[in-house]
C-alpha cells in the first residue's frame, strides 16, 4: 500500500495531498459564490480522506468520506439553497472586522508553527504503519469505548431530533406574514 502502485515516492503524494487540502480550504472560504465554497469544501474533505487512506487509516478515511461528503456536504448545500437561494452574495462578503480576524489567524499560525517546529514529539518515527482490522476497531468500540459510543449515539439522536424541531415549519403561519 505504501507508495501506491506507481513508483512515486510517498513524500510527493503527501505534498500533493497537502497542497490540495490547503488550496481548496482557502478557496472554500475566499470565493463569493456560496455553492462554489461548499463544493471546494467537499474537495478539501476528499483530500483529507485521501490523506487518511494514504496513512493506512483506511477506516477513518472512509468514515471521513461517508460522513463529510455524503452527509455534511448535502445538508450544507440544502441550507445554502434554503437561505440565500444559492446565488452570489450581494454587497461585501467580508465582515466589518475582517482585517483583525485574518491578522489574528496569521499570528496564531506563526505561533503554532513555531511551537510545532520546536516540539520534541515530532522526531518520533511512525509506529503504526499497519492499519487495524475493522474487527479490532469494532471489538474495541464495543468494549473499551462503549460509554463514548453510547454517548455519541445519544448525542446524534438528540441532534437529529433538535434539528428537525428547529427547522420545522410553524404549524400555522399567520396570514399577514408574507412568505
Amino acid at each position: 500500500m505504501e507508495g501506491g502502485f506507481i513508483a512515486m515516492p510517498t513524500d510527493v503524494i503527501l505534498w500533493i495531498l497537502g497542497g490540495l487540502i490547503l488550496i481548496s480550504a482557502v478557496m472554500s472560504l475566499a470565493l463569493r459564490n456560496l455553492i462554489h465554497c461548499a463544493l471546494f469544501l467537499m474537495v478539501c474533505f476528499l483530500g483529507l480522506a485521501g490523506l487518511y487512506l494514504h496513512l493506512n487509516a483506511v477506516f477513518s478515511g472512509l468514515v471521513q468520506a461517508l460522513v463529510y461528503v455524503g452527509a455534511v456536504g448535502i445538508i450544507l448545500i440544502f441550507a445554502i439553497l434554503l437561505t440565500e437561494g444559492g446565488g452570489t452574495e450581494t454587497g461585501s462578503h467580508l465582515g466589518s472586522q475582517w482585517r483583525t480576524g485574518i491578522g489574528l489567524a496569521v499570528l496564531l499560525a506563526f505561533a503554532l508553527l513555531g511551537a510545532v517546529s520546536n516540539s520534541p514529539q515530532t522526531t518520533q518515527a511512525a509506529r503504526h504503519t499497519e492499519e487495524p482490522t475493522v474487527r479490532e476497531i469494532g471489538l474495541k468500540l464495543m468494549t473499551d469505548y462503549l460509554l463514548p459510543l453510547q454517548t455519541i449515539g445519544l448525542l446524534l439522536t438528540a441532534a437529529a431530533i433538535g434539528a428537525v424541531v428547529l427547522a420545522m415549519q410553524e404549524p400555522k403561519p399567520r396570514k399577514d406574514e408574507t412568505p
Binding site: 502502485f5 506507481i6 513508483a7 455553492i35 462554489h36 463544493l39 467537499m42 476528499l46 480522506a49 483506511v58 477506516f59 472512509l62 468514515v63 468520506a65 461517508l66 461528503v69 455524503g70 452527509a71 456536504g73 448535502i74 448545500i77 440544502f78 439553497l81 444559492g86 492499519e131 482490522t133 475493522v134 474487527r135
Partner: protein
C-alpha cells in the same frame, strides 16, 4: 511472447476459478511494472465488461418495455435490433454539445465526470467470482457506501450548474430521495454484517457457500430477516438509482428530464452510463449480501459452472426484474416517496436488524423461524397496513370523453 502467454494463462485461470489468477502474467513482466500491471489487470475487465453490459441492457430494456407496452421496440439496426446501442452511441458522440449561456461552465462540465468516477469505483470491491475481487478490502462495504455517497453531490452539481428551474428542482428531488433511501439501504446491509461479523464483501460471499452434504445453499435470502432485508434493499436500491417507480427526479411529465435536462451529446451519455452502472453496482451488492454472491443455489450444483457465471446470471435476473418493474408500476408522488422512506422503510429495516439479532441468539431452528417470521410479519402489517394513510378504494368507474 512471454507476457502474451502469461496473459492468456491469467485469463484462463480467472475464467476457471483458480486461485490467484494474476500471478502468471505478473511473473512474465519486469519487477518494476508489476504493481502497475496488477492495477491495470483489475481495472480493465471492469471497464470492458460493465459498459458492454450497459449497452446490451439499454437494448434489452427497450425491447422488453416495448413488449410490455404491446409494441415491438427497436428492431432496425443489426440482427433483431441488437446493434441499436451502437447507433445510439454514435449519435450521442456526434451530437453538438450545448452548454446554456447562463450555466456555470466548470461545474457543468465536471458533474458527469463526478458521477461516473465514484460509480466505477464501487465495482472495485465487488467479488465477481471465487477469486475475482479487484480489491479485497477489509472495509469493503464501508468503501462501497462511502464512494457511492459522492454521486449525490454530482447530481446536485449537474442540477445547480445548469441554471434551469427544472434542473434545480430535479436535483433537489434526487438528492432528497437519495439521502432518504440511503439510510434503509445501509441498515438493510447492516443486518448481514451483523450475522457474518465482517465488512469484507469477499468474506460475506464466502460465508454463503453451501457446506458439502447439505442441499440448499445458506444464502441469507433464505431466512426470514434475509428475505425482508433483500426486499427492502432492492426497493432502496431502485430509489437510489432513480428508477421507475421512483423516477421523480427525471419525471418527464413534470420536470422534463430533471437534473440532466441541460446536457446533450457525450455528457448526457455519461449520465445515462452512470445511472445504469449504479444500478449494476447496487444489484451486485445485493447479490453479494443476500443472494450468495458467486455461489450456486444448491450444494450439488456448486462445481457445475465457474463461479462468475452464477454471479452474472443473478445480475441478469435482477436487471430483468428492474425492467419488469419499470414497465409495470406507475410513478409515485413526492409525498408518497418520502412517506415510504421515513415511515415504512426505516422502521422496517430497524426491525429487520432486531430480527437478525434474534436469529443469531435463538438456538433451535423451528423457534427462530417462528419468532423472526412473526416479528417481521407483524411489523409489516402494523407499519404497512395500520399506520400508513389508507385510501378507500371504491368501485372503479371508467369515464370516457364525451
Amino acid at each position: 511472447m512471454e507476457p502474451l502467454k502469461g496473459l492468456l494463462s491469467t485469463l484462463w485461470k480467472a475464467l476457471t476459478d483458480q486461485p490467484d489468477p494474476k500471478a502468471p502474467f505478473l511473473e512474465s513482466i519486469p519487477e518494476d511494472y508489476r504493481s502497475l500491471a496488477s492495477a491495470v489487470l483489475s481495472v480493465a475487465p471492469i471497464l470492458m465488461v460493465f459498459p458492454l453490459l450497459f449497452a446490451l441492457t439499454t437494448v434489452l430494456e427497450r425491447k422488453g418495455l416495448g413488449r410490455i407496452q404491446n409494441r415491438l421496440g427497436p428492431n432496425r439496426v443489426g440482427p433483431a435490433g441488437f446493434l441499436q446501442f451502437a447507433a445510439d452511441g454514435l449519435k450521442t458522440l456526434t451530437k453538438e454539445d450545448v452548454v446554456p449561456r447562463a450555466a456555470d461552465r466548470v461545474v457543468h462540465f465536471l458533474a458527469p465526470i463526478a458521477l461516473v468516477i465514484p460509480v466505477l469505483l464501487t465495482f472495485a470491491v465487488l467479488p465477481f467470482g471465487r477469486n475475482l475481487a479487484p480489491i479485497d478490502l477489509d472495509a469493503g462495504l464501508l468503501f462501497f457506501f462511502a464512494v457511492s455517497s459522492a454521486t449525490e453531490l454530482a447530481v446536485f452539481m449537474a442540477g445547480w450548474a445548469s441554471r434551469n428551474k427544472y434542473s434545480l428542482l430535479g436535483a433537489l428531488r434526487a438528492v432528497a430521495q437519495m439521502v432518504s433511501y440511503e439510510i434503509p439501504l445501509v441498515l438493510a446491509a447492516l443486518s448481514v454484517v451483523m450475522i457474518t461479523g465482517t465488512l469484507s464483501l469477499s468474506a460475506i460471499a464466502a460465508a454463503q457457500s453451501p457446506t458439502p452434504g447439505s442441499f440448499l445453499a445458506p444464502w441469507y435470502v433464505f431466512t426470514p430477516w434475509g428475505l425482508m432485508g433483500f426486499l427492502l434493499f432492492m426497493i432502496a436500491a431502485c430509489a437510489e438509482a432513480n428508477r421507475s417507480p421512483f423516477d421523480l427526479p427525471e419525471g418527464e411529465s413534470e420536470i422534463i428530464a430533471g437534473y440532466y435536462l441541460e446536457y446533450s451529446g457525450f455528457k448526457f451519455a455519461l449520465f445515462f452510463l452512470g445511472e445504469y452502472l449504479g444500478l449494476f453496482a447496487s444489484s451486485g451488492l445485493a447479490i453479494t449480501l443476500f443472494l450468495g454472491g458467486w455461489n450456486a443455489p444448491f450444494a450439488f450444483m456448486q462445481g457445475w459452472l465457474p463461479s462468475w457465471v452464477w454471479f452474472f446470471a443473478k445480475l441478469a435476473t435482477l436487471i430483468a426484474v428492474f425492467i419488469w418493474i419499470r414497465g409495470t408500476l406507475p410513478r409515485v408522488r413526492m409525498d408518497q416517496l418520502m412517506g415510504l422512506a421515513w415511515k415504512f422503510m426505516i422502521p422496517m429495516t430497524l426491525l429487520t436488524l432486531v430480527a437478525a439479532g434474534l436469529w443469531h441468539r435463538l438456538p433451535s431452528a423451528p423457534l427462530r423461524w417462528v419468532a423472526c417470521t412473526a416479528l417481521l410479519a407483524g411489523a409489516f402489517l402494523v407499519l404497512g397496513r395500520v399506520l400508513m394513510p389508507r385510501t378507500r378504494h371504491g368501485r372503479r368507474v371508467y369515464r370516457y370523453a364525451d
